[in-house]
C-alpha cells in the first residue's frame, strides 16, 4: 500500500511537469494553430534563468589568502559574493540560498519577452504554412536555442539546489497513520506539485474569469468572427504565446532542484509532452492537464520492479502504448473537440 502511494506521488510529480509543458503547448496550438516544437527549449531556458540568477547572486570579488594555497601551490584566491559584502554574510547567504524561488520572479519577465520575441520574430511568418513547415522551423529553433545555452553554460549539468529549509524529505506516512518511514517524500517534490497546481489553476482562472481570457477563448473557438467584431485577436494571441512561454519557463525554474538543468533537458521532455497533448486531445486545455497527470502516474507504476519483471521494458514503452490505445479508441484524444486539426 505504501509503495502504491509513493508511486502515485511520484506520478503526480512527473505529471506536474508534463501538464505544465503540455498546457503551454496546447495554449499555443489552440490560439495560433502552431505546433511549437521549441516549447521544450522554453522549459530549458526557464531552468537556465535559475542558473543565471544563481550566478548573478554569486558574483564575487577575489582576495588573496596567503595562508592557503591553490592546486598549483600559489596563494589561494578567496571569492566573496558581492551580496554577502553588501548585506552582511548571513543575509547574503540567505539570499543566495533562496535563489531558485527568487528566480521565479526573475524568469517571468524574461520568459514573457522570449515568448513575445519568438512569436513576433519567427513564428508569425509560419501561420499560413503547413504544420510540417512549422514543426521543422520550431524544431530547428529548439536546436539553436540549446546550442546557444551549451555555448554559455557548457554540457555538464549545473546544480540549482532548493533553499536549505525545503531540502530533505517529509515522513508523510506518519501523518496519515502509517508506520514511521513508510512514506517518505522529498519536500521540494511536494512544493513542485503545489506550484504546478497553482499555475494551472491560475491559467484556467485567467482564461475563465477575465475579459481578456474570454476574448481569447472566443478567438480559439472562432477566430474569424472575433476579428470581424473589430477585436485585434492577433495581439491577444501574441500575449498568450508569451504567457505559454512563461508557464513552460516557470516549470523549468522549479524543476531545477529536482534534476540539475542541462542544455538538452527540453528535448527530453518535448516528445513526451507532445504525446500528452495528443492523448489529452489537440487544443484541449483540461485534456492536456488530465493526460499529463495520467501518463505521469502510469509511467511511475511501469517503473516499479513488479512491472518491469512482469513485462520487461514496459517502463520504456508505457506512454506510447497508452497513446496508441487511446488514439485507437478515442481518435480525438481524451477531451479533443471535433474539427481541430481535421479538414
Amino acid at each position: 500500500m505504501d509503495a502504491i502511494l509513493l508511486q502515485i506521488l511520484n506520478g503526480l510529480d512527473k505529471g506536474s511537469a508534463y501538464a505544465l509543458i503540455a498546457l503551454g503547448l496546447t495554449l499555443i496550438f489552440g490560439t495560433l494553430g502552431v505546433v511549437n516544437f521549441a516549447h521544450g527549449a522554453l522549459f530549458m531556458i526557464g531552468a537556465f534563468c535559475a542558473v543565471t540568477l544563481q550566478r548573478i547572486l554569486n558574483l564575487s570579488f577575489e582576495s588573496v589568502d596567503e595562508s592557503q594555497t591553490d592546486f598549483l601551490g600559489n596563494p589561494l584566491k578567496v571569492k566573496t559574493p558581492y551580496v554577502e559584502a553588501w548585506f552582511g554574510p548571513e543575509a547574503g547567504a540567505v539570499i543566495i540560498d533562496w535563489s531558485v524561488p527568487l528566480a521565479v520572479l526573475f524568469a517571468i519577465p524574461i520568459m514573457l519577452f522570449v515568448g513575445y520575441a519568438m512569436e513576433r520574430g519567427l513564428i508569425k511568418f509560419f501561420y499560413k504554412r503547413p504544420h510540417a513547415d512549422q514543426i521543422l522551423v520550431t524544431f530547428g529553433l529548439a536546436i539553436v536555442l540549446q546550442e546557444v545555452i551549451k555555448y554559455f553554460f557548457g554540457a555538464n549539468p549545473i546544480q540549482t539546489p532548493p533553499p536549505e529549509a525545503l531540502r530533505g524529505s517529509l515522513d508523510l506516512g506518519v501523518m496519515v497513520g502509517f508506520d514511521p518511514n513508510a512514506i517518505i517524500y522529498p519536500i521540494w517534490r511536494l512544493v513542485y506539485f503545489v506550484f504546478a497546481t497553482v499555475i494551472i489553476g491560475g491559467v484556467f482562472a485567467f482564461l475563465q474569469f477575465t475579459t481578456f481570457g474570454m476574448v481569447v477563448r472566443a478567438g480559439m473557438a472562432d477566430r474569424e468572427t472575433v476579428g470581424l467584431l473589430g477585436i485585434n485577436i492577433d495581439r491577444r494571441f501574441t500575449i498568450m504565446f508569451g504567457i505559454a512561454a512563461a508557464v513552460a519557463g516557470l516549470a523549468g525554474v522549479m524543476y531545477g532542484p529536482l534534476n540539475p538543468p542541462n542544455y538538452h533537458m527540453g528535448m527530453d521532455f518535448l516528445v513526451l509532452s507532445f504525446v500528452v497533448v495528443v492523448v489529452g486531445g489537440m487544443g484541449s486545455l483540461p485534456g492536456a492537464v488530465l493526460a499529463g497527470f495520467l501518463l505521469g502516474i502510469l509511467e511511475s507504476f511501469a517503473s516499479t520492479t513488479w512491472a518491469t519483471t512482469t513485462i520487461p521494458g514496459i517502463n520504456q514503452i508505457i506512454i506510447y502504448l497508452v497513446a496508441i490505445i487511446i488514439l485507437l479508441t478515442r481518435p480525438r484524444g481524451l477531451m479533443g473537440r471535433k474539427g481541430v486539426m481535421e479538414d
Binding site: D2, A3, L6, Q7, N10, G11, D13, K14, Q68, D70, F71, L72, L76, K150, G154, A155, N156, P157, I158, Q159, P161, R167, G168, S169, N181, A182, I184, Y185, P186, W188, R189, L258, N259, P260, N262, H264, M265, D268, E299, S300, S303, T304, T305, T308, N315, Q316
Partner: protein, 450 residues
Amino acid sequence: MSNKSVTRRGVLKTGAVAGAGVALPTIFTASSASAFTNEPTGGTVTLGFNVPQTGPYADEGNDELLAQQLAVEHLNGEGDGGCLNTFTSKALKGNGILGKKVTFVTGDTQTKSDAARASAKSMIEKDGAIMINGGSSSGVAVAVQGLCQEAGIIFMAGLTHANDTTGKDRKKNGFRHFFNAYMSGAALAPVLAKEMGADRRAYHLTADYNWGWTQEESIVASTEALGWETVNTVKTPLASTDFSSYIAPVLNSGADVLVLNHYGGNMVNSLTNAIQFGLLDKVANGKDFKIVVPLYSELMAAGAGENIKGVLGSMNYNWQLENEGSKAFVKSFGEKYGKPPSNSAQTCYAQVLLYADAVERAGSFNPCAVVEALEGFEFDGLGNGKTLYRAEDHQCFKDVLVVRGAQNPTNAYDTLEIVEITPVDQVTYPPDHPMFGGAEATLGECNEGA
C-alpha cells in the same frame, strides 16, 4: 549513314575516362607501395583525436582534447615538457616522433558509435591519421577499436570502463590505459568491508547498456565475496532523466546500501534523487544507509554538487596524487589551462605519450611494430605509478584509487578526496577471466593495413 560526329566535348570526355583508366593502376600501386596504412612520408605525422565535442559528454571531450594538445606540444619540444621529464622510458626527445613534427586532427564522436566510427574513418582516410586516440564511452571504444583493427591503425582508448573493451572485444590493434569495472569492484570491496562491514544488503540501479551490465556484474561479484547480499538489481533506461520511481522502492526494500551503476547525467540525477529521498539520513537494518557510485569522474562530481559528500567511488587517476609524474602533469596542465586535469584528460595524455614512445622504441610507425613495443611494456612517471601494458589483453595494470566526496571542499577542484590507493596486485585478474570473455577471448592478429 552514321549520325555520329566527333565533337570537342566528346573528345574531352573520352580522354578523361581513358586518362582515369590509365591512372587507376598507378593509384593502387602507389598505395600498395606503403608498407602499412597511412605511413608518414613527409616531415610530419598526424594523430587523430576522436572525442565527444557535442552531446552530453562534450565537456569531458573538451578536457581530453586539451590534454591531447598538451601532449602534442610536449612531443614537439614546446612548453615545459610535462611528463617527458618524469617518464621512465627516455626514448622521447621532444623532437616529434622519429624526428617528424607531430600534428593532429580531431573528430567528434558525439558519444554515438556510428558517429564515432564515421569520424575515425574520415580522419584515417582523408587526413591520413596514423593512430586514433580518445573517447568517453565503452560503446564508442569497442566500435572504433573494431574499425581501427580493420583499417590497420593503432587505437588508444580514452575513458572506457566496461570489461569488454579489453575482454571479449579485445583487439590486437587496440590498447586501454583506463581501468575497468572489475578493477573498480576489486578496489572498492576492501574499503567497503572496512567502512560498512561484511553484513550488508545492496540494491543496484544499473544503466541498461553494456557498460552498466558489466559494472553491475563486477560489483555484485566483489561485494558478495565479502558476504554482502544483493537484494535487487534494477535496470534503468539510459534515456531516463528522473529516477524517483526507481529510488522510491529502495526505501522499503530491506536494503541498506544503494549502488548506482550510472555514469554522467544518469549518475548526477540518480544521486540527486537518492539524496532528495533522504536515503543518506535513513537507518536500515540498524545501520546507517550508504550510497556507492563505483565509477566517479570530476565532471560528475561537479554536476552532483553537494550530493556527493561522503559517497564512495573509484577512479583511474586523481590530480591530487603526489607522485612525480602526477605533479609534472598537473603543473603543466594547470599552468596552461588554469584548472587541474580530469582523469579522462590524464588517460588521453598518457596514451599519446605511450604511443609516441612505442614508435620511437620500435623505430617504426608500423602498427605491428608498435603493438610489439607496447605489449608487456612496464613504465612509470605518467601519473599512475608503476604500470604494465599486459601483452595478453592490452589492458594497463596499475594502482586504482578509491575516492570519497569531500565533506568540506575548499574550492571547485577538491570535491573528491583519495581514501585509498589500492595496489595493483589486488586488482589484477587472469586474462582468461570469465568476466573478460573467458578462454575464447583472443586479440587476433595484428593488422598493418595497406
